[in-house]
Symmetry: C2
Subunit: 159 residues, 2 copies
């Protein structure tokens, strides 16, 4: 039996475990530096920077979704889905789709005009799921990241 | 003479004009549906969804930056730069770089570990500027957008 519930501060340890499992699947575990303390402070304090959902199958943690508001200068309010993950042993039961529906319902209730996210180009099952939902792939855009050391260096040039 | 200042509600009309100029340069003017009312409500009310900077050259509007907080499950707080634009007649004076430095300074002061944005794959001058700052291009990721009608349809399947 599937149930989906909003994550609370007590889930920060579980969330970090699931975040690391997804990063491992994405072959990026070395990129993860987030701590349980970061998650508690940034997600469950006075000014939350994100929200998360926990999916449980027969009371066992089966997956999660992690999202926050995003703003498009073309269309206004959107919802950004940072992570969507179902543990391998729980796949094939519609849990990913159920998490997406739950998030879409939040997006609609909060007047977000669209949802956005990112997918690795080799993750075929995920891409097929998103295509089946009518998603569009913006393949003429490149993602750019300025790491913290470069941000610091650039900030020092501010007038 | 260059000056950079935070945008206020009185700049919403100017912001919309600049947003449309950038979208036109990006060959996407038809995608822009945002109104001045949207920008006033979403940027300058009780719970701002974005912030913007206006760059002026000799008191004339020369460009803008548009940004908000973003949250990486790998690294925590980041700053997302939705738009950066310098009007053609003001290019070549370091205004884009000055806007980026100003935003980087905000990112650093607010403990954002990195900055992120997106660039069109044909926009060579922008890509070269970002490379010169030490930016990384995450070219194995694809951007996914679920438009509003598809969000609505997916939301209806929520339990």
């Amino acid at each position: 039996m599937l149930s989906i519930r909003p994550a609370s501060a007590e889930d920060a340890g579980l969330l970090r475990t699931l975040i690391r499992e997804l990063a491992d699947f994405e072959r990026e575990l070395d990129s993860v530096s987030i701590t349980e303390t970061d998650l508690v402070r940034d997600g469950f304090g006075a000014d939350p920077k994100f929200r998360a959902l926990i999916a449980e199958w027969d009371k066992q943690a089966a997956g999660y979704a992690f999202f926050f508001h995003f703003y498009s200068t073309w269309q206004g309010r959107q919802l950004f889905l940072e992570d969507l993950f179902v543990r391998p042993q729980f796949r094939g039961r519609g849990i990913g789709r159920a998490l997406l529906s739950y998030v879409a319902n939040i997006a609609r209730n909060e007047n977000c005009r669209a949802m956005r996210w990112e997918v690795l180009d080799w993750n075929k099952p995920a891409i097929e799921l998103y295509q089946s939902l009518g998603a569009t792939f913006l393949d003429d855009w490149r993602l750019v990241l300025l790491p913290s050391e470069e941000v610091r260096r650039l900030a020092e040039k501010a007038a």
